[in-house]
């Protein structure tokens, strides 16, 4: 399935001039450096940051082992794509240097200086209006659950819902954003009631982690900012500014521009910002904001766990079925049997609504729902875009500890059996067989195979968006360009006999072809 959700690749689509404008803001330069660049790209940036002269390309070759030339090429391509470096020609050959705005902003972040409010003005709210981090997490979770619940149509599961479980609907601006991003389609009128229907992209969205979800919505917001009379770069700069703030601290709105105050109101609906009331002169960033540009895996995991905890089953209720002393609340609640019956120990409306996307639910109990996975229920999900891998991944991630224990015991039995077989007939084939059996399979093979077969039955065609390159004059030109495309990770398919290949991105390949032709012409002239 083509994933059309906006991700950080969105920034690649910005023009060089727009990116240069963005880099004028230190929080933006820091965010792109932290979140977007690979480890090697960061290393190259740091090596150039305080260097007064351009760095010759040959020096980058010395920084990386010859065996890792592909990684070096990818890192340099990444810096070029985001217009972080520019190329100059020295007497000794080509050289790279950081673009001045990016370098200035990053140096300011690292060494200080510039405006005193680059990273906001901390505000001390009156004690009566101070908010704790736990309260901020609750607020962010409620807002986010409201959005996800609206998307999966939890309101349509009234017969399976219990009183008081209804999720608060999102604001009208958020609904407009979801519609603009084709994550939901809405039928009906405001006066008679509107019914949202999740789309193929919406399916993919709800199964992503919180960080990916929030960025997808923010990039949608950036894309639709024209409607609010704002510029993309202004919006992106403000989002990166908010992301650079510290959780638990209040910030004054007096240093914000009128447009930024307007954006603040939009971010309130997403749960990224908290304000005690609309007249308050300060705001708090929530955990959703402060982990937006974090490159730390643990910080993102903490955010997902904290904010996604109520996406997990009710901890009190699932605890009753938890026989493991090491079991953490909400770490798994689904039991699926080889006869396709499913038991989910949850009372979360959101989880039940999610399950109903690919399970035919049958009954609801105080702490559990039952259902059956059928060909019809799975193919209904596949028809709207959810993939077999997503379903299997969801079931594996949320498998009940009992299933995990059973799978671990089964694995241990297989290992013991294999060791005994190896001992009696040692050989390379026996080793290979052992490795094949060493995978922990939480979901029964029957279930995984059947879901995949149901998908294959419907999905006989695979498609990729991209560019077809053909009509190469010589075989060596075809081979060189195709190899370059493969090394830079954009090659999807090739046919050496016909000298054609298909790539996801064409800009780098085009530059390579041009450079190669110039080199060839120079060689011929010589």
């Amino acid at each position: 399935m083509t994933d059309s959700l906006q991700s950080w690749d969105y920034l690649e689509g910005l023009q060089g001039v727009e990116l240069q404008k963005l880099y004028k803001s230190p929080p933006s330069a820091l965010a792109i450096f932290r979140k977007l660049l690979s480890g090697l790209s960061k290393h190259f940036v740091m090596s150039m940051l305080y260097c007064p002269r351009p760095t010759p390309l040959t020096e980058f070759e010395l920084m990386v082992k010859a065996s890792r030339a592909k990684d070096r090429q990818m890192a340099l391509d990444q810096l070029r794509r985001y217009h972080i470096v520019r190329e100059t020609t020295l007497k000794s050959g080509k050289a790279l240097s950081l673009v001045p705005d990016f370098a200035r902003s990053l140096r300011r972040v690292l060494g200080g200086g510039g405006s005193g409010y680059t990273f906001g003005q901390v505000f001390s709210p009156p004690a009566s209006q101070a908010v704790s981090v736990d309260d901020l997490d609750d607020y962010a979770r409620q807002q986010w659950e409201g959005i996800l619940g609206y998307m999966v149509g939890s309101s349509n599961l009234a017969e399976l819902q219990q009183p008081g479980e209804e999720l608060a609907p999102p604001s009208s601006s958020v609904i407009e954003l979801l519609k603009a991003g084709s994550l939901v389609t809405v039928q009906g009128t405001v006066s008679r009631g509107q019914i949202p229907t999740i789309t193929k992209d919406g399916f993919a969205f709800v199964l992503k982690d919180v960080s990916t979800q929030i960025w997808a919505l923010l990039f949608l917001y950036v894309d639709n900012c024209d409607a609010f009379d704002m510029e993309k770069i202004e919006v992106l700069s403000f989002i990166f500014f908010v992301a650079s703030l510290e959780l638990g601290l209040a910030y004054s709105i007096s240093t914000l521009t009128t447009k930024e105050k307007q954006m603040l109101q939009d971010l309130l609906g997403l749960g990224i910002i908290y304000q005690p009331d609309s007249n308050a002169t300060f705001f708090y960033p929530t955990r959703l904001a402060t982990t937006l540009t974090s490159s730390s895996t643990s910080a993102i995991t903490t955010a997902s766990q904290t904010l996604g905890s109520s996406l997990q089953p009710n901890s009190d209720l699932s605890a009753a079925h938890n026989t493991s002393p090491h079991q953490t609340p909400g770490s798994g609640f689904i039991i699926i049997e080889t006869n396709f019956r499913l038991y989910a120990y949850t009372s979360s409306s959101l989880q039940i609504a999610l399950l109903s996307l690919f399970i035919a639910l049958r009954s609801r109990h105080p702490n559990m729902v039952t259902g059956k996975m059928t060909k019809q229920s799975v193919q209904r999900a596949i028809q709207v875009g959810i993939t077999a891998e997503q379903i299997i991944s969801y079931l594996s991630t949320h498998a009940h500890p009992q299933m995990k224990r059973y799978a671990a015991a089964e694995l241990a039995r297989n290992q013991a059996r294999q060791i005994a077989i190896n001992a009696s007939s040692a050989g390379p084939n026996a080793e290979g067989a052992t490795n094949a059996m060493l995978h922990l399979k939480v979901i029964p093979d029957t279930i995984m195979d059947q879901i995949s077969l149901w998908q294959m039955e419907r999905d006989r065609i695979t498609s990729n968006a991209g560019f077809l390159l053909k009509d190469f004059t010589t075989n060596s030109e075809y081979q060189d360009v195709c190899r370059y495309a493969d090394e830079t990770g954009v090659l999807i398919w090739s046919d050496d006999k016909r000298r054609v290949f298909f790539v996801t991105r064409v800009e780098g390949v085009q530059s390579f072809i041009k450079e190669r032709r110039v080199r060839e012409q120079a060689r011929m002239a010589f």
């Binding site: 035919a360 049958r362 060909k375 419907r458 498609s463 046919d495 016909r498």
Partner: protein, 69 residues
């Protein structure tokens, strides 16, 4: 797009009936280049045609379960 050879015949049939609205170039009997905004539509039409050819009914009765139902 990549698919099994029999699917190519269906794609060609649909494309011919639509006066070449989908396919830009046929590459081989498993691969072809189609207009990006027409890919999903073409997939849906192939599915409909294939279901019709194989006699698959859209609405199947869900498996009943003696215990759950």
């Amino acid at each position: 797009m990549k698919y099994a050879p029999p699917t190519m015949a269906m794609i060609e049939k649909i494309d011919k009936e639509s006066s070449g609205a989908y396919v830009i170039e046929r590459i081989d009997d498993r691969t072809c280049l189609v207009k990006e905004n027409k890919a999903d539509e073409l997939k849906a039409r192939v599915k409909t045609l294939m279901d019709k050819a194989m006699g698959v009914e859209d609405e199947e009765v869900a498996d009943l379960d003696s215990d759950l139902d």
